[in-house]
Symmetry: C2
């Protein structure tokens, strides 16, 4: 587990103006971004990381000339880290209006030739997401494996799942909220007032005057910083310790610094005021205030999330009083109301809101486990993709034992296929329906009598034939209704199964996950067994392959492949061809 | 239950410099104060109310020319109110360094002829209490019935009980804390930084420049105000309501006011900045930060409270996150460790820290009940005072059945008497010892053989003779050891007792609080019965009186007096005289 190492920011320029929620537009803008890891062939392993108030596109790694310039989520993103750059292609992007490279108030407004200053249009979370989507287009990413963020970044992830439901498979919302509370807004407004009333702010046009509203920014940051820490954590770290307590354990009786907490906060404020832009601070607090996806739905968050398709990971921290666990539970409740797949972790950590940026074993483990699940989904998807490459564009397909409908949905989306799924299990029928495919609830053991001869271009029977009692009869059914068939089953000769048998046990593995007494798999076949049976039923084996973790195995396939897949065609069709 | 009506502030000038905790001194200063109600004859009904951050001596009532100028605790203090000005003499005092009349930064420093400004010495809670004690001296109040305050005012009450243990009988600490947390200090420092960095602050010498650091004060007040309200209360009152929502239910996409909470807070900030002094704000936040009575005792609050003598009422509010109930419990724990009498109320109220200023039935009822108890103590004290006026200055006294020692202590303090108490009950012996009187644990039923003839000027036997089995023998004992005796007992002819007997029940009332089956009172006597017995034992009745609620009853005493008190002298002494 190490750092991603040296990274470099990249710039993407957009000439086409972006229409903003306010009605204003911003033209001729640039987004700064960084990427880590490698985009896979089907561009399915991309993860977008959205940043919070004072962060940027620099998520992980460090810059060549600055060994101390670690990215803001370097503990989360990297090789072997929870968001594992060995498996995922991670993108960090700097939002519009920021002061870290993407077009913002300090940049020149091409219309006036002067810095935007306070005339930079007010941008919203939705505006940022819209811009991020344009960047994804440019990078050729149609659908993210996950969009992820903490705090304000979590809001962006949530907005992604609402605005572009089909463009992310997982949405990870950490230490966030579906909208700011009055108290949250109040703290933001204190910060804004501190900046706006600093005479050096000069109505936002301070750049040309060579001044910066440092005092206002400092106060803004101090008050913000208090809300990031927990009361207990502050008490433990600072308590009432006096600064330079060793020197002189007494009060100073002036308005300088007595306590360590004062020293710490003023230092944080000073540091912040030296690198952060005042106009950006105003913009970002406003984006926070405005975020409220339920607003257009009469305050009904469940309704706002109605069209989402992603699966969710929501996490909160027990001592976070800025966006408390209660606020995350609002999101979870709305997702449950929509029967979305959602995992919720409420992590007992002492560090308040800032916890989302810090090391915490339970927190890191949850994110790691969730991303391992996403990676497993990716493997599944590569199986789907592999099988799909045998299906012709626009084919009419019957998917026998369609399960949750993922394959058919994939074919519909990726290959403009049409067709039906056949499934017996109630929960799978429901899932397939939710996925939007046409599913016929039917026991395949009763045959496929309801379909006409040669009704389909391709019949799929993936990992379900082994559950049939009369394999030969079913195979003949498939031959009747389809011109081609793709059949897969767990390869019983897969070597871990053999190893188990050598130990005197029935095999249990990922593709054969059942014990002997509860297995729904009634028949077992090796690749060679099946080849014989297929030919006996009038099917020509066009190709066959053994897949291990979604990738074809060419060396000793009958030993190493855990899943066997056959591409078959009716013999008469073969002879005609 | 009404307002105290029209009130007037008064000024008390002090020429003698006050030495401050910082080592500095402030000379030639004035304290503004107000009083409500009437000080009783023995000056035992005075209540001092200490104010918090932005309040003053104007606690209750209103000024003649300003009908809307109600005092800051007008709901708490007034005729028939929890702190009932029909029974108590209430004093509000403005603290040093304030901007409401007492000497503060805006006043002229006699040494320079210019306003103090930032050179006004930093004052502490203890400095304020010291000054308040000097005011009490001037008003002739040796001991307050209660010192009371909320928030910073509660700190002053707590400091009173530590600094002047004998000068208050009750200490009422509401919504307070034994010391600020790091988070509390952090918020204060944000406020200070906002003021100190406002260019109009001009190092504190803004008075002569005709400017006021309004922006800094405004931000300071806004951040302070957030901490006074509860998150829930803010959510309920303001939520995400837009300002002028009726007009146009949309965001404005600028840095003006979108939400009602912004409008409210900015208004509060502006209003505050128009009447409050910036230097005072700095001083008061510093006094808050510095308060920490446990500091001199290695952080041990119990030790800091070791020498206290007061009884305590501590109250906190469930939604107060500035000084949470946990902080009040720290005080309660330290008091319990010292076995102090303490009542603690944790009030479930939605209004955060501000709750201590607001109407809440449970809160008001607790304070009311506690003050009724104080009033009952006052009645007891007036009994003591009445009886004490029969005891000569410097008399040597035996108090038979001395109970908690209150009477003997009173005689020692008010009349420089000496002597002993006799008491059988373990808990009473302990209490008497804690009160500092000399107590002999002894069963009076065994006689007073351990005391010589005529050893005492006066023997007291107050409300205990009726518990003796051999009343005559005990009365003869008293005659032997003392020259005079004062004997009291519940008057069995007291009319509520008679009324109860008429109804066929044994009497139960305040002076005869037991049921017939558990009463320790073995003998009952009417005033006439006792007079006969006393004379039989060689005692001349010099005076007798029936007391009702501590006041003598002259009309039909045997019917209306609940307590009968006899002043007796040995017959031979009478005849010699």
């Amino acid at each position: 587990m190490g750092s991603i190492g040296i990274v470099s920011p990249q710039a993407m320029h957009f000439a086409e103006p972006l229409r903003l929620q306010s009605g204003a537009a911003i033209g001729d803008y640039t987004l700064m971004y960084e990427t880590y890891g490698t985009l896979n062939a089907d561009k399915s392993n991309a993860v977008l990381i959205c940043h919070a108030l004072n962060a940027s596109h620099h998520v992980a790694g460090h810059y060549a000339d600055q060994p101390k310039s670690a990215g803001w989520w370097d503990n989360m993103v990297g090789p072997g880290k929870p968001v594992d750059t060995d498996r995922f292609f991670v993108i960090g992007v700097n939002n519009l209006g920021s002061c870290f490279g993407s077009t913002g108030p300090m940049h020149t407004n091409p219309a006036t030739g002067k810095p935007y200053g306070a005339t930079f249009p007010v941008v919203t979370v939705e505006d940022w997401v819209a811009a991020q989507a344009l960047l994804a287009d440019r990078l050729g990413i149609e659908c993210f494996a996950a969009v992820m963020g903490g705090s304000l970044g979590g809001m962006q992830a949530l907005a992604w799942s609402i605005m572009f439901p089909e463009r992310l498979r997982h949405c990870i919302v950490i230490a966030s909220t579906p909208k700011l509370s009055a108290q949250n807004i109040a703290f933001n407004d204190v910060a804004r007032q501190a900046i706006l009333t600093d005479p050096d702010y000069r109505g936002g046009d301070f750049y040309e005057h060579g001044v910066v509203p440092k005092n206002g920014l400092k106060v803004a940051r101090m008050v913000g910083h208090i809300t990031y820490l927990s009361n207990d954590d502050m008490a433990e770290k600072f308590g009432r310790k006096l600064r330079n307590a060793a020197e002189r354990n007494d009060y100073k009786f002036d308005f300088g610094i007595d306590f360590e907490i004062e020293s710490y906060l003023r230092y944080q404020g000073d540091k912040f005021s030296e690198y952060f832009d005042a106009n950006t601070y105003l913009l970002i607090t406003k984006a926070l205030d405005y975020f409220d996806p339920a607003r257009e739905h009469g305050g009904n968050l469940a309704k706002a999330l109605e069209n989402t398709q992603a699966q969710y990971l929501v996490a909160s921290f027990s001592t976070d009083w800025r966006f408390s666990p209660e606020r995350s539970r609002e999101i979870v409740e709305a997702l449950l109301a929509n029967r979305r797949k959602v995992t919720y972790a409420e992590i007992d950590a002492p560090h308040g809101h800032d916890a989302f940026l810090l090391e915490d074993v339970r927190y890191m483990n949850i994110v790691r486990a969730y991303f391992q699940r996403i990676a497993a989904d990716l493997t599944l998807r590569s199986d789907l993709a592999f099988i799909a490459h045998w299906v012709g564009d626009g084919a009419h397909v019957l998917d026998v034992g369609c399960g949750d409908g993922a394959m058919l949905r994939y074919l519909e989306q990726a290959k403009r296929c049409t067709g039906y799924g056949v499934e017996i299990a109630d929960d799978k029928v429901l899932e397939s329906t939710q996925r939007g495919i046409s599913v016929i609830q039917h026991d395949m053991e009763q045959g496929l009598g309801l379909f006409a001869d040669d009704a389909f271009d391709v019949v799929l029977c993936l990992s379900s034939l082994q559950m049939m009692q009369h394999v030969e009869a079913r195979l003949r059914d498939i031959v009747r209704v389809g011109k081609e068939a793709i059949v897969s089953f767990p390869n019983f000769a897969y070597w871990p199964h053999r190893a188990a048998l050598l130990k005197g046990r029935m095999p249990v593995s990922r593709t054969l996950p059942y014990q002997w007494f509860d297995t729904p798999n009634l028949r077992y076949a090796t690749i060679y067994d099946f080849k014989d049976l297929a030919e006996k039923c009038g099917l020509e084996v066009l190709e066959y392959v053994a897949l291990a973790e979604g990738k074809p195995v060419s060396f000793l396939p009958n030993l190493r492949g855990s899943l066997a897949v056959f591409r078959l065609r009716k013999r008469d069709l073969v002879s005609k061809a």
